[in-house]
């Protein structure tokens, strides 16, 4: 394979962080990497709890998370919110919106956050120019789908402590490096927001966090998560990281081949 040199400049730039994420699962040439790093961006700062895409609003940009936590949300007729996904620094919160700019929920900042807006036009251009980038973006969207399936299982079939343990395990793996879970990390969301993600009231979240702490599994204090016993927490959360890690060896991903 030609030109597989890694030109990503570490995680110094937000686009570099996004490129690193993409390259954990997809093989890109130097040219392809550079094309991602050259995407035009516009920085937007968001307040905590700021809804910046309303449900059923059509958008012309995808959002790359620079700092903070971004969530996608749905809402019942009575106004009860369900957080359907959370997005962490280095992740594109709505890459899929480049091909489906409406109908995938609203977006909100769970805490003060910074995002980069990248126009759908630029994303589609780079994907059209480099089929391998299109495939890498497609794979990234499917990772989001895999996470969504786990969240559906989580809120549909697990009890309160298991749900929360699963969420904290997942975020630990997503924030970790080299397929290793981060056992201490910042996750500055409120108990109410955790409840919106786990389909529980904030009182129930508080009670369940207390119970997980009493079991010696983790401590959550003012947005800082400390996992004391990874294996035990993973068992408590019925957490199997296969859905996050299974495709993290890019050499196993065949580049798109088209025979004519």
């Amino acid at each position: 394979m030609q030109g597989s040199m890694d030109v990503s400049s570490g995680e110094q730039t937000p686009l570099g962080a996004f490129l690193n994420r993409i390259m954990q699962r997809s093989v890109l040439t130097a040219d392809e990497q550079q094309a991602i790093l050259d995407l035009p961006t516009q920085t937007v700062h968001l307040r905590g709890k700021q809804d910046f895409v309303h449900i059923n609003e059509q958008v012309a940009y995808s959002c790359l998370v620079v700092s903070g936590v971004i969530a996608r949300v749905g809402q019942t007729a009575k106004g009860a919110r369900q957080i359907t996904s959370v997005h962490l620094p280095g992740e594109m919160a709505d890459l899929h919106s480049a091909v489906r700019p409406i109908g995938l929920g609203g977006m909100t900042a769970l805490c003060p956050s910074t995002i980069l807006r990248i126009s759908h036009g630029a994303i589609r251009q780079v994907a059209a120019r480099f089929p391998a980038i299109a495939e890498a973006f497609w794979r990234d969207c499917m990772l989001e789908s895999a996470i969504l399936l786990q969240w559906l299982l989580n809120v549909g079939r697990r009890d309160a402590q298991t749900r929360l343990a699963h969420i904290f395990c997942e975020v630990a793996v997503r924030l970790g490096r080299n397929r290793t879970a981060a056992c201490q990390y910042d996750f500055p969301v409120t108990q109410e927001q955790l409840g919106d993600a786990a389909a529980m009231t904030s009182v129930h979240v508080n009670r369940s966090l207390r119970a997980l702490h009493a079991r010696g599994l983790l401590t959550v204090t003012r947005g800082r998560v400390t996992i004391h016993q990874w294996e035990a927490l993973a068992r408590a959360g019925e957490f199997d990281p296969t859905y996050l890690l299974a495709d993290m060896e890019p050499h196993r991903q065949e580049r798109l081949r088209i025979s004519v």
């Binding site: 009890d159 009231t201 129930h204």
Partner: protein
């Protein structure tokens, strides 16, 4: 970019739970008014009771959720037993 929401400060209430352990709410939440905070407390209590029932655990009807203002005043006490109706017992 969506227009910014009007930036009105809603009052903060804290929902403390007293069941098999005491779980003090250190974060609190913003509610439109006291009635909204009480409604959230009622939902919480019922949700906790429901999970106990599903797990086959006994319900203690004397457990309660208290709604507390920022200055520590308890404005409402919601006893579990007052939030459910049992027939045929």
């Amino acid at each position: 970019m969506a227009a910014c929401r009007a930036f009105t400060r809603m009052p903060r209430y804290y929902l403390n739970l007293y069941n098999d352990v005491d779980v003090v709410d250190e974060e609190g939440g913003e509610f439109a008014d006291q009635a909204a905070a009480e409604a959230a407390a009622v939902r919480s209590a019922r949700e906790l009771m429901a999970e106990h029932v599903m797990a086959g655990l006994p319900l203690d009807l004397n457990h309660r959720v208290e709604v507390v203002t920022g200055d520590g005043t308890v404005v409402s006490v919601l006893r579990f037993g007052d939030l459910i109706t049992i027939k045929g017992g």
